[in-house]
C-alpha cells in the first residue's frame, strides 16, 4: 500500500522546505554582498536611500538587485520606474523585474492587483512570503543585493537575518531630529543582538542647499528655519550658496559616535527625490553628476570600505 494523501502532503511539504533551504544556501554563493537598509522610524527615506545606493552601485559598474521587503507599503518599483510591471515566473522560479541601470527588483507591489489593494497579513504569512522572496527568486549572479525594510525591528528584518546567509551588515538610515535618532539607536542595538554588523549610519534630509546670484563680493544674511541667521558672501561672479538645516544638524554623526559605529555620510534634502520618485525617474538617473548623486557615491564608498573590514571567519560544522 502506498503513502496516504496526508503522508504525501507531508512529504511534499518537507521536500519543498528542503529545496528552499538549499536555494537559500546557494543564494549565499551567487550574491557576493548583502546589505540590509533599516531605520527605527518611518518616513526617514529608507526606500529613497535603498534605491539610491543600488543605483549608485550600478553606476559604478556593479550588478545589483533590490529586495523590497516592505510587504504592506512597497514603493521601490514606483521609484525605479517599474510601476504596473508584473513578474515573470518560469519553472517555479520568480524572475525579477529590471529597472534603471539594469537593477533587478523584487517587491510585493508586483503581485498586487492594483496599488490601492492593501496587504492584510499577520506575521507568519509575511514570513512565508519573505522566505519565498529570498529562496524562490532567480537573482542570477549579483555583486550587491540591497534589502529595503519597513520601519522597525520586527518580523521582516528578523526573518531575513535568520534566513539569508552571510549578510554583510546593516545600514541605518536616520534624519537629524531626536525622535528619529531615538529609534535609530534601537536599530543599532537590534543589529548587535542579531550579530549582524552595523555598516554605519546615514543621515538623510541633512540640509537644504540654496544658491543664487547677486552683486559680486557682497555680504548677505539669509534667515533659515527657526529664524537662524546665516551670514555668507557672494564670490567675484556674484554667486552664493548656503546649506540650511531643515531639521537639526549632526544628529546622525553623534548617534554613530555614541554607539561606536561608522558614520557613512549625509544625504542632502533634495526635492528632486520627491519628483523623481513620483515620476519613476530616480534623481541619480536624471542627474547622474548632481549633488545628490555625488553624496550617494560617497556613502557607497564608505559602505564598501566597511564591507572590506567586516568579513568574519565563519563556523566549521563537522
Amino acid at each position: 500500500m502506498g503513502p496516504s494523501i496526508q503522508q504525501q502532503k507531508e512529504m511534499e511539504s518537507a521536500y519543498a522546505n528542503m529545496r528552499r533551504k538549499m536555494a537559500m544556501q546557494e543564494l549565499g554563493k551567487k550574491i557576493k554582498h548583502k546589505i540590509m537598509v533599516l531605520s527605527g522610524k518611518g518616513g526617514v527615506g529608507k526606500s529613497t536611500v535603498s534605491t539610491g545606493l543600488a543605483l549608485s552601485l550600478a553606476q559604478q559598474g556593479h550588478t545589483v538587485g533590490i529586495l523590497d521587503i516592505d510587504i504592506t507599503g512597497p514603493n521601490v518599483p514606483k521609484m525605479m520606474g517599474l510601476d504596473g510591471k508584473r513578474l515573470h515566473v518560469e519553472q517555479g522560479r520568480i524572475h525579477p523585474a529590471q529597472g534603471h541601470l539594469g537593477v533587478k527588483v523584487i517587491s510585493m507591489a508586483f503581485l498586487l492587483e492594483d496599488e490601492d489593494t492593501p496587504v492584510v497579513w499577520r506575521g507568519p504569512i509575511k514570513l512565508g512570503a519573505i522566505q519565498q522572496f529570498i529562496a524562490d527568486v532567480e537573482w542570477g549572479e549579483l555583486d550587491y543585493l540591497v534589502i529595503d525594510f519597513p520601519p522597525g525591528t520586527s518580523d521582516e528584518p528578523l526573518t531575513v537575518a535568520q534566513s539569508l546567509p552571510d549578510i554583510d551588515g546593516m545600514v541605518i538610515v536616520t534624519t537629524p531630529q531626536d525622535v528619529a535618532l531615538l529609534d535609530s539607536r534601537k536599530s543599532i542595538t537590534f543589529s548587535e543582538s542579531l550579530k549582524v554588523p552595523v555598516l554605519g549610519v546615514v543621515e538623510n534630509m541633512s540640509g537644504y542647499t540654496i544658491s543664487g546670484t547677486t552683486n559680486p563680493e557682497v555680504n548677505l544674511e539669509i534667515a533659515g528655519p527657526g529664524g537662524k541667521k546665516h551670514k555668507i558672501a557672494s564670490d567675484k561672479d556674484g554667486k552664493f550658496s548656503v546649506t540650511l538645516d531643515i531639521f537639526k544638524q549632526g544628529g546622525g554623526k553623534s548617534t554613530a559616535h555614541e554607539f561606536g559605529v561608522p558614520f557613512l555620510g549625509e544625504l542632502p534634502f533634495d526635492p528632486g527625490f520627491v519628483r523623481g520618485g513620483d515620476d519613476g525617474v530616480h534623481r541619480i538617473v536624471s542627474e547622474p553628476d548632481g549633488a545628490s548623486a555625488i553624496a550617494f557615491a560617497k556613502v557607497v564608498e564608505a559602505i564598501k570600505s566597511q564591507i572590506g573590514t567586516s568579513q568574519s571567519q565563519g563556523l566549521e560544522i563537522i
Binding site: A161, Q162, L164, P165, I167, S193, L194, K195, V196, S312, Q313, G314, L315, E316, I317, I318
Partner: protein, 116 residues
C-alpha cells in the same frame, strides 16, 4: 555578561559535541545538557520548577542517542534538528558559551512568555 569569543569549529560526536573558539578555548557539551537547556517556549517554562525540570531531563535521557543536524541562524545562533524530541530552540552563541562553561544559560531567571 563578558564578551563571547567567536565559535569557529563544532565537531559532532555520538553523545557530545566539541567546540573550538577563536581564542583557543576548547569545550565539550553533552547533547543531554544541550537539549535540557532548549530555549524554546515549550521547554523553557519546564525549567522554572525543580520537579518539572527533572522530569524534562528524564524525558530527554530516555530519547535514543543521535547526532543532530546543526544549522546556523543568521550570525547570532545555532539550531539543532533531532529526529525525536524538540528541535524548536534557537541557541544564541552566548547561550552555547554559557553551557560550555558550565554556567546556567538562563542566568537564574525564570522563563516568562514574551520576554526575548
Amino acid at each position: 555578561m563578558s564578551e563571547t569569543p567567536e565559535l569557529i569549529r563544532l565537531e559532532r560526536h555520538d553523545t557530545t559535541m566539541n567546540l573550538t573558539y577563536a581564542d583557543g578555548g576548547e569545550f565539550v557539551i553533552s547533547y543531554d545538557d544541550l537539549r535540557h537547556s532548549c530555549p524554546c517556549a515549550k521547554c523553557s517554562p519546564l525549567r522554572n520548577e525543580d520537579e518539572s525540570s527533572r522530569s524534562l531531563r528524564r524525558q530527554i535521557e530516555s530519547l535514543p542517542a543521535e547526532k543532530p543536524k546543526v544549522r546556523t541562524i543568521g550570525k547570532y545562533a545555532l539550531a539543532f534538528d533531532w529526529n525525536k524530541g524538540c528541535s524548536s530552540g534557537i541557541y544564541r552563541f552566548e547561550r552555547i558559551w554559557a553551557l560550555a562553561n558550565n554556567q546556567d544559560p538562563d542566568d537564574g531567571r525564570s522563563y516568562v512568555h514574551g520576554a526575548w
